[in-house]
Symmetry: C2
Subunit: 190 residues, 2 copies
DNA sequence: GATTTCTTTTGACAATTATCAAAAAAATTA
DNA sequence: TAATTTTTTTGATAATTGTCAAAAGAAATC
């Protein structure tokens, strides 16, 4: 049942049976239904999850009342409202289930206990933090790299999964443009 | 001489005398002069540094030949071409000294040795990776948050240091706009 | 302190992107 | 499958931002 978790962890680091077990011990299996928010804006986030099935989007509402999507995370992956989880400040994003999902939840306290007891689990934490930093760096790079059309083409190449499974309106704001502009760009490219 | 390093590390985690010493042992003191590139695009980056004095900008050249600045890092801070250092892929950014600088350099190999031997130093690595991820998240948030004018105002509030010390042309591309547009916006705000 | 180099500002105009409203298409639910 | 809801597309127009060239200002160098 937790095979995909093992596989995912293994892609970062080889853990022993007992290390895997203590990780499993802090997890609670849970379902999150489409459109439900796992994390709410302005609340402090002290929980994180492993996505076993489904995907999330991170979004906030700007001054004009528009929803701005800042990120997507697909299974398998660990996620949380990163800045809030780390610093203890209120989250500035909502994290919303895009489909009916299956996740394994755990608390910050439990995780930090494991960090203290198992250096290799802390190493896993470092590797995941690094992966998240790299992901943000790539998104940043995408946004800074010229016209909206170029950004979309780049996304097409690099993140085919996004373009194929995520509704266009959310991809638009991920790219920093409106859905109408993205729709027109797609027409122009065809 | 390395007081600012100690202080900086202490802001993340309390290390013992001997842990501090082994970190110092892998450092090489160095000067980097204004406009010099510490890291070159397309080269694999296996070194990182602690900035003791000065600041860097991260930039790349886009298809139209324009320099795009994606980040700034001021002393005191650890920096490297993050994605390249972690993954071993060629760097997609240049890292350029903005003033005459004083830095302490170290290699990836030496650092990873320390990670293996000193769990608390690996924890420091995790904490720094997290800080970098948070920094990128904030920059992303800035870029996605509506009009250029709003972005600039937000930067004014949040990162006064940037606005006061960095030449406008670099701030412009950090905000995803041209220097002319930023210049006009500043005039409008006055 | 004069000269050179680098940075910022300004103007005129063009291109890109946003906005609002409505229609069409697709997906979901009854 | 019909009805409802959600998502995408289209049109007309406005607002924002970019481009290119030149001037003004500031900083660095001799």
């Amino acid at each position: 049942m937790r095979e995909s978790l093992h596989k995912y962890i293994n892609s970062f680091i080889q853990l022993s049976e007992s290390e895997i077990r203590v990780i499993e011990d802090i997890l609670t299996s849970r379902k999150i239904y489409k459109k439900e928010n796992f994390i709410e804006i302005n609340k402090v986030c002290t929980k994180a999850i492993f996505i076993n099935k489904g995907y999330f989007r991170f979004y906030h509402v700007d001054v004009n009342g528009n929803e701005i999507t800042s990120d997507f995370y697909f299974a398998p992956s660990f996620i949380t409202s990163y800045t809030s989880f780390i610093t203890g400040a209120p989250s500035f994003v909502n994290v919303q289930a895009m489909v009916d999902m299956e996740v394994f939840e755990f608390t910050k306290n439990d995780l930090y206990d494991l960090y203290g007891k198992y250096p290799k689990i802390e190493r896993l934490g470092r590797l995941i933090a690094e992966a998240i930093a790299i992901n943000s760096e790539e998104h940043l790079f995408l946004l800074l790299n010229q016209s909206a059309e170029m950004r979309y083409k780049r996304l097409l190449e690099k993140n085919t999964k996004y373009v194929n499974t995520i509704p266009l309106q959310y991809i638009a704001s991920y790219l920093g443009i409106t859905k109408e502009t993205l729709s027109r760009m797609r027409k122009a490219i065809r």
